[in-house]
């Protein structure tokens, strides 16, 4: 197997799923976060995610879940990345945080290793600039649920080499996935378009044009989207949506991406979507779920 040992930075929603997916495919994973509490939560989330994966995949149902979990080492120590074969960074969607992570990884990981950024919108070229190996820095934008998505948005920074793109395609192939390669402008393809739609859908609710359920129903039932924009926002996490809009707003600077005040207020109020049990819809399991 290529890249038998993979470092995963960030044990939030997406980092946890990436770690799980890698361990399912047989990689050994070093999952790094700043707090042990987050790492503890990640371990139990992976256990729960494996149950979910089992529903649709007999291979996962029959595999040893304890065995998959045993391939993941959780740590707060970046030092354990010193002999890793490849790193997938999933740290918080904030440019200063990610730049610091990349500078740190560059110091710790051997110079020929690829550093991949899982980011919604941050410029790969800019992150590459925080390292001494810009040709080996690349964007891999996994979307959740990671184990069910066959395609990953792969982002080629200004200096990213073709060899790096090819190696990452091989790596994704081993996970049963394929990369669609895009060039590097903030938000790439997915979020440059999606965040505008989500932000406008939130404004529609804010302006009392329609309820969240009605907004989403129009997208699902009239336009045949699998999920409406607000359920999608809840799935991504409203805090992540807000941070992504802020990054895009800062990057393009023309006001298109200015976050709707309702979104900011919901995040301030602790309504972060599915992961907090409530966002535009309720996920507590007991009350009226509004699923379409």
């Amino acid at each position: 197997m290529e890249f038998p040992n993979v470092g995963v930075i960030g044990a939030g929603t997406i980092g946890t799923e990436v770690a799980q997916c890698l361990a399912q495919a047989g990689h050994r994973v070093v999952l790094v976060d700043v707090e042990t509490g987050i790492l503890d939560r990640a371990r139990s989330a992976i256990g729960e995610n494996l149950r979910y994966a089992s529903l649709f995949d007999a291979g996962v149902r029959e595999a040893s879940h304890a065995g998959i979990l045993s391939r993941i080492d959780c740590t707060t120590d970046y030092g354990l990345l010193a002999d890793i074969d490849l790193v997938v960074d999933n740290s918080t969607e904030s440019r200063p945080i990610k730049e610091e992570v990349f500078t740190r990884l560059d110091r710790i990981c051997p110079p020929d290793r690829i550093l991949a950024a899982n980011t919604s919108a941050i410029s790969i070229t800019r992150l590459a600039g925080a390292t001494r190996r810009p040709d080996r820095v690349i964007g891999v934008h996994f979307m959740n649920p990671v184990f069910r998505k066959p395609v990953v948005e792969v982002v080629k920074g200004w200096h990213t080499s073709d060899a790096t793109v090819e190696a990452v395609q091989g790596f994704l192939g081993g996970l049963g996935k394929r990369g669609v390669v895009t060039n590097d402008m903030p938000g790439f393809v997915s979020n440059r378009v999606l965040m505008l739609a989500i932000n406008e859908a939130i404004s529609v609710v804010h302006d009392r044009v329609a309820t969240p359920a009605d907004v989403d129903e129009i997208f699902v039932k009239c336009l045949a989207h699998e999920m409406g924009p607000l359920a999608t926002a809840d799935l991504i996490g409203l805090d992540t949506v807000l941070r992504t809009l802020d990054v895009l707003n800062e990057s393009y600077g023309d006001g298109r991406f200015r976050a709707c005040p309702l979104l900011r207020q919901m995040v301030d109020a602790g309504l972060r979507g599915r992961k907090s049990g409530k966002g535009f819809f309720d996920y507590s399991g007991q009350q009226g779920l509004r699923w379409t």
Partner: protein, 86 residues
């Protein structure tokens, strides 16, 4: 309320549409795949059962009939002597 009525009532609230007992929730697009885990959590909490790994097959959760049969199988006492649960 019997098992089927409780399952039906939960789904009516969740899907906000009439659901036939045999309708495949996923195939008909009444819910998307992310709803599956919520369904598992619902039956576990509502009926105080635990879905073991071998139970976690989407066929057990794809319709009112399937969910009801699954809950009954997990809650009914094992058959009498000579049929020890395997």
């Amino acid at each position: 309320m019997d098992v089927k009525a409780r399952v039906r009532s939960y789904l009516r609230q969740a899907v906000m549409e009439e659901v036939g007992d045999g309708d495949d929730l996923f195939e008909l697009g009444l819910v998307n795949s992310l709803f599956a885990l919520q369904l598992v959590q619902f039956v576990e909490n509502e009926f105080s059962i635990k879905a073991e790994r071998e139970d976690l097959d989407i066929v057990n959760f794809s319709s009112i009939d399937a969910l009801t049969a699954f809950v009954l199988r997990k809650t009914q006492p094992p058959p009498g002597p000579g049929h020890a649960a395997d």
